[in-house]
Symmetry: C2
Subunit: 352 residues, 2 copies
Amino acid sequence: MDSNKAYPMKGGDGMSSYTNNSSYQKSLSDVAMSLISEAIAEKLDVAVCGSPFRIADLGCSVGPNTLIVVENIINSVQLKYDQHSFPTPEFQVFFNDHASNDFNTLFKTLPSNKQYHAAGVPGSFYTRLFPRASLHVIHSSFALHWLSKVPQEVIEKDSRAWNKGRLHYGCADNEVVMAYRQQHMKDVDGFLKARAEEVASGGMVVVLVPGRPNEVPHQECIGNVLFEVLGCCLLAMAKEGKIEEEKVDSLNIPIYYSSPHELEEIVDRNGCFRIEKMEVMPHIAEPETKDAAGRLAMGVRVGVEGVLKGCLQEETIDELFESYRKRLEQVPSLYSSGGAAIIFLVLAKKES
Amino acid sequence: MDSNKAYPMKGGDGMSSYTNNSSYQKSLSDVAMSLISEAIAEKLDVAVCGSPFRIADLGCSVGPNTLIVVENIINSVQLKYDQHSFPTPEFQVFFNDHASNDFNTLFKTLPSNKQYHAAGVPGSFYTRLFPRASLHVIHSSFALHWLSKVPQEVIEKDSRAWNKGRLHYGCADNEVVMAYRQQHMKDVDGFLKARAEEVASGGMVVVLVPGRPNEVPHQECIGNVLFEVLGCCLLAMAKEGKIEEEKVDSLNIPIYYSSPHELEEIVDRNGCFRIEKMEVMPHIAEPETKDAAGRLAMGVRVGVEGVLKGCLQEETIDELFESYRKRLEQVPSLYSSGGAAIIFLVLAKKES
C-alpha cells in the first residue's frame, strides 16, 4: 500500500498552464485516468471476472466526464484481457446517481458507437443498488464528499451542535465539526458495506474524492474557507434584511472534506476492504486574478446551487454570488492559500 | 401450445361495464396479469435460474403500467421459488425504452419500498440491449406493433409502394401493405434474435401485442380503420389549404397490426424460439356514444402525437383531432364494427 504518496500533476509546464480552468481540470482528469488504468493493470484479477464484465460509475451526473471515465476503464480492462489472451468480455455499464439526476440527458448523450450495454441506476450510493457480487469495477469520482444529509444536530436549535449563522463547519465550533465528521463516517461506512456486497470476486472499488491533506486543519482547507466566505456573504445579506437570519441558520451544505488518515480509519473500522492503493493529488492554487476569482465563484455556485435553491429565491442567489465573486476578487489570499487534495483510493474486498 | 385460443375477458358483467374506458383497460390488464402469472407458473424453470433473477420490461414507457407488471412478475416468480423451497432470489429489473423516453419521471415514480434493484436501459429493442444469457423473464406489452421506422418505400415518390394521400396502410394498395408487413417481419425477427442471445437458460419471453384476428382483413382491422379516418381528416384539411398535401404524403404512422398466424410464421422462420403459448384476447367494442368517440380520439392522439409533431404545428394537430372526434361521433360504426385483438405470446428458447 502506497499510503498518502503525493502524485505530481501531469501536463502543463508551469503555473501559467493552470490559469485556464479547463486545462487544470484536464490535467487532473489525465492523472486520474492514469491512476485508474494503473490500478486495473496491477490489481484487477481478470482470471475470475469472466463475462459479462460489469462496471458501475456511482454519482455519475450527466457527462461527459462519466463517459470518458467509463471508456478509460473499459480500455484498461480490455488490455488486461488481451494480455492474458482471454476472449473479449461483453461489458455492461451502470450509471448511477440520485433519482433527481437528469438521466434523460445522460442517455441522449451516450455515444452511438459505444462498446457496452448501458443502464442507468437511480438511488443513493449510501445504500444497496445492485445484486450481490455482480460488479467487477466500481468507480466513483467527486461524489463521496457529499453527505447523505445535513447532520440532524446542526439544524436543531437546542443542540450543542446548532450551526447558527453558518453554512458549513469549517470555522464552526468543534461540536459542529464533529457532527459533520460523524455523518461522513457513517455515510462512507454505509457506502463500503453496500459495495462489499455488490463487488464480484476479483473485482475492485476505485474512489476519487476531494478532501484535505492530513496536516491541513479544517479551517484552512480551501473548500471550507470558500464555504465560510459564502456564509459570510449570506449573513451580510441577512443583516441588511434581504434574507431572514433563520434561513442562514437552517441552511447547511452537506459536504465534508476528509483527510487520507480519516478515510483509512473508516475503511479499517468497516473491515470489508483492504486499501490496495492510496494517493493524494495535491491542490494547484488558482492564480490571484479576477478571472480566477470569477471561475471559482461560478464553480462553487454550480456545486451548491441545488442546496440553496430549496431555500432562497433565484434573485437572492444571483445577488449572493455577485457579492461572493467580489469578495474573492478583493481577498484572493482566501483561495490561493490553504490546502486541498484529491484522494485516490483503490479497495479490494477482504476474503472472508 | 394453445394456438389462437380465445381468452374471455375477466371482470365486468355485461356491456355496460365496458362503457368506462378505464374499467375496460383494467379488465384487459387483469387478464394480461393472470396470463403472465399462469405462464410463469407453468413454464419458467426456476431450478436453473438462481440469483439474481433478472427481469426486463421492453418498451416500458413511464408507468404506472410497467411498475404494476413488474410487481406481478416478481410475485409470480417468488411464488414459484417458494413452492420449490428455493431461497428467495435477489431481483434486478431493467426498464427499457427509447433514449427519448422520460426516464427521469419513471425513476422518480419507482416505489420507495420496491423489492428489487432497478435500472433503466435506453435503446431500441430491435437491437441487443443486454449481455448474453443475462435475463430470466423478458416482457413487452403494447410495444411490438411499433415498427423501428417507416418503411422506406412508402415515402419514396417513384416507388410502387408510395403511400400518397394516406397516413397508414389499412386501405392502401397492396404494395404499401406489403412494405409495412415486410418491415414488421424484419423488426420482429430482429427482436427475437436479440432476445435469443439475452435470455438465460430456463428463462422466457412474454409478449402482449395489439393485432388483428386471423380472419379479419387489414381494411377491417379497427386500428387501421381509425388511422384511415384520421388520414381522411388530414387530407380534408390539406384540400382546404390548411396543410401542404406533400406533408400528408410524407407522413406515415409506423405501426403494424399483425395476426396470430403472421406472428407464428415470424417465430417459426426466426427459429430461435418455441411458442409455448399463444392466446388471443378478443376486442370489446366501444359503445356508440359521444363519450366513447371522444375517448377513442384522445387515445389515438396520445399514441401518434409524437409522430405528427415532427411535421405539423400544435394548432394544426388540435384542429385535426377536433374534426377527427366529430367524425367518430357522426359515424360510430367506424369504430364499433370491425375486428381487433390483443395477442399474448409466451416464447421459450429452443435448445441448440
